[in-house]
């Protein structure tokens, strides 16, 4: 058995690299950490100044269930929160909706009203703890409920730190929690970004992600190109509205996967920073260096984790977390080793957090910024990733930009074809996976601890509680607040201010999502073949 001679993305790798593999203007292409083009990181001192944020994605059941898991994580030293919502919440259905019942509380927490949001953060000071929300089609509604929950705690909007995923374009590529057609969807995402530019100075109103396309099957180069192309699409939409690029660009944040090919992943993350800086200055004429300073969250790759020999996943996650750190991530999530089966157990999620803490505090890799800079191999790969992503970015531009290319199904084909290629390579053994197609001897679910058990009663309890809250609200006030949202949606006004009023008046998530459904219609994906 020997090592393969290409990276996971198919870049040829030489048996050895020397100074001849590194282009002569290296110091110009690197810059200092915290300085353009930010190849070496967004901040001068990197982890020496502040460790990355350890942000395990969590949420299931009702608001109380998820709140208990949040406290569990904070007590064990997690430094921020990341909320997983259930699919009905992501798709704009209240828990009692007939399409929702089977999925209530399954992959995340169920939120129907602002009172659920208040319960979700019970005992958690929102002016101190930063919160990440994995929410897209209903992002404006969830943000409105969060702002009202913070208001009820007495936390000032200007003090709120965190990130709203709010990247609807990639939902048409992967993950697929779109509701409305692409054009009005993009408008809602931009309403949030425009609102935050005035009201939420510490909050990231979008996390532009390559992660999900990667998890759906594409390679590192395609992931990089798709994320940057999406950032271009949002930026162009906001500039077309009349916003100055420098007024919103410093708050754009990004989300990348970190998978198994360690050096390719590190190179991708370094290339992402340089590429975005160059696009921000060349294409959008950024004057503020912070407009081209790419900051990102890294999620480890669930698709590289195996159901067979699940403890091996602890090792895989450690390598992936190390890649995110060497790539200069601002926040990191490490997968649970049992995620091929269920929502991670308390044991698994603790181990994920401990993985981050051991890398941060024992391995020594956090001592100095961008420790791999100057490595012949890593610099050559960084150049390759940037150049190859540029070529794909040009292809996407030629196809009319990210939104148009996605509507035409172009990147969806990249993703499906490369997912199929990988599965065939795993079946043939061309791509080794330990415990799956090599060294597969010692069994399947062995060594799996106590697994997470879902609560079958959550849908019913949630439906009863929401019905009580709806009965208790001022019906007339709520109706006129909902009507104001509808008017803004129709007239092109920013939907955020009326959404915040409607959340305050007790409107449900389903009612508000239905307002947009009636104005914008619903999207149905075209046949892939």
């Amino acid at each position: 058995m020997s090592a393969t001679d290409t990276t996971d993305a198919g870049i040829p790798v030489a048996p050895v690299y020397t100074d001849r593999d590194v282009a002569p203007d290296l110091s110009e292409r690197l810059g200092a950490p915290g300085e353009p083009p930010f190849t070496r990181g967004p901040y001068p001192t990197m982890y020496r100044g502040q460790l990355w944020t350890m942000r395990q994605f969590a949420g299931f059941g009702s608001a109380e269930d998820a709140n208990a898991r949040f406290h569990f994580l904070l007590e064990r030293g997690q430094s921020a929160l990341s909320v997983a919502f259930d699919l009905p919440t992501q798709l704009g259905y209240d828990s009692a909706h007939p399409s929702a019942v089977a999925d209530v509380g399954r992959v995340g927490v169920a939120i129907d009203t602002v009172d659920d949001m208040v319960d979700l953060f019970d005992g958690i000071p929102l002016d101190e703890i930063s919160v990440n929300f994995t929410i897209n089609a209903t992002a404006p509604i969830i943000l409105a409920m969060y702002l009202v929950a913070a208001e009820r705690q007495g936390a000032a909007a200007a003090s709120l730190a965190g990130t709203l995923q709010n990247d609807i374009l990639k939902e048409f590529l992967a993950r697929k929690t779109y509701i409305y057609p692409p054009v009005p969807s993009l408008r809602l995402s931009c309403d949030v970004i425009a609102y935050a530019a005035g009201a939420l100075p510490r909050f990231n109103p979008i996390s532009i992600t390559g992660y999900h396309a990667r998890e759906a099957g594409c390679d590192a180069i395609q992931e990089l190109a798709l994320a940057i192309a999406s950032a271009v699409a949002y930026s162009e939409a906001l500039v077309t509205r009349g916003m100055a690029f420098d007024s919103f660009a410093p708050r754009l944040s990004f989300h990348f996967a970190t998978t198994m090919d360690l050096f390719e992943e590190v190179a991708k993350l370094r290339a992402a920073r340089r590429l975005w800086y160059r696009i921000a200055t060349e294409r959008f004429g950024a004057n503020d260096p912070a407009s081209g300073r790419l900051r990102f969250f890294s999620g480890n790759s669930g698709t590289t984790l195996t159901a067979q020999q699940p403890l091996n996943n602890v090792v895989r996650s450690t390598i992936q977390c190390l890649g995110a750190v060497l790539g200069g991530a601002q926040s990191i999530h490490v997968m649970g080793y049992d995620e091929a089966y269920e929502i991670p157990s308390e044991e698994a999620v603790t181990l994920s957090l401990r993985t981050q803490q051991i890398i941060a505090l024992e391995s020594g890799v956090a001592r100095t910024a961008d420790p791999l800079a100057g490595s012949y191999y890593v610099e050559a790969l960084t150049d390759q990733l940037e150049a190859r992503a540029r070529t794909l970015l040009d292809e996407l531009d030629a196809a009319g930009g990210a939104a148009t290319a996605i509507e035409a199904g172009m990147p969806q084909r990249w993703i499906a074809e490369s997912a199929y290629r990988l599965e065939r390579d795993l079946a043939s053994g061309d791509r080794p996976r330990v415990g799956v197609n090599v060294f597969a001897a010692d069994g399947d679910q062995a060594h799996l601890g106590d697994m997470f058990a879902a609560d079958p009663g959550v849908a019913e309890r949630q439906a009863v509680r929401t019905a009580q809250r709806v009965a208790a609200r001022d019906a007339q006030a709520c109706r006129s607040a909902i009507e104001a949202v509808s008017a803004a949606a129709r007239d092109g006004g920013n939907v955020m201010p009326p959404l915040i009023d409607a959340a305050r008046a007790g409107a449900t998530l389903g009612e508000l999502a239905d307002v947009f459904r009636s104005v914008f219609g619903e999207f149905r994906e075209p046949q892939p073949w």
Binding site: Y93, S99, A102, D103, R175
Partner: protein, 133 residues
């Protein structure tokens, strides 16, 4: 003999379609005719299409953990419409749940970690059984 006809769909709200698309491509390369209905399909839509398309096998994929409730709805509707077509499930299915699902009447369960050739063989074998029955 005509090729095996396989109807694939995702019930419930889950949007993870990497696996079902890979299976669709592999079945097609193995000579089957594949009809993919896409995401968020109700039991009514799935069985109407399966009957209209004269499918030999129905394959569904669930990675949200809601497989037991969704399969229950699907099988109730199969009985209601009187369709005699086998059902294959793929997705994030723990072993205990797979036993429950087989007892409920699912013909095959392929959890995460199944090999692609095994999934293809199983679907084609169920389709062949259906056509010779």
């Amino acid at each position: 003999m005509r090729p095996t006809r396989v109807l694939l769909a995702k019930p419930g709200l889950d949007g993870h379609d990497r696996g079902i698309k890979v299976v669709a491509m592999a079945l097609r390369d193995a000579g089957a005719e594949v009809i993919y209905l896409g995401l968020r399909r109700t039991p009514e839509e799935i069985w109407r299409a399966a009957v209209d398309e004269d499918a030999d096998v129905v394959g569904v994929s669930v990675l949200s953990g809601a497989h037991v409730a969704l399969i229950e709805q699907l099988l109730v509707e199969r009985t209601r419409v009187g369709a005699d077509i086998p059902v294959v499930l793929g997705g994030t299915v723990p072993a205990d749940d797979a036993d429950v699902l087989r007892a409920m009447g699912v013909d095959a369960v392929h959890a995460v970690g199944s090999s692609l050739p095994d999934v293809v063989d199983s679907v084609l074998a169920l389709g062949a059984r259906e056509r010779t029955a």
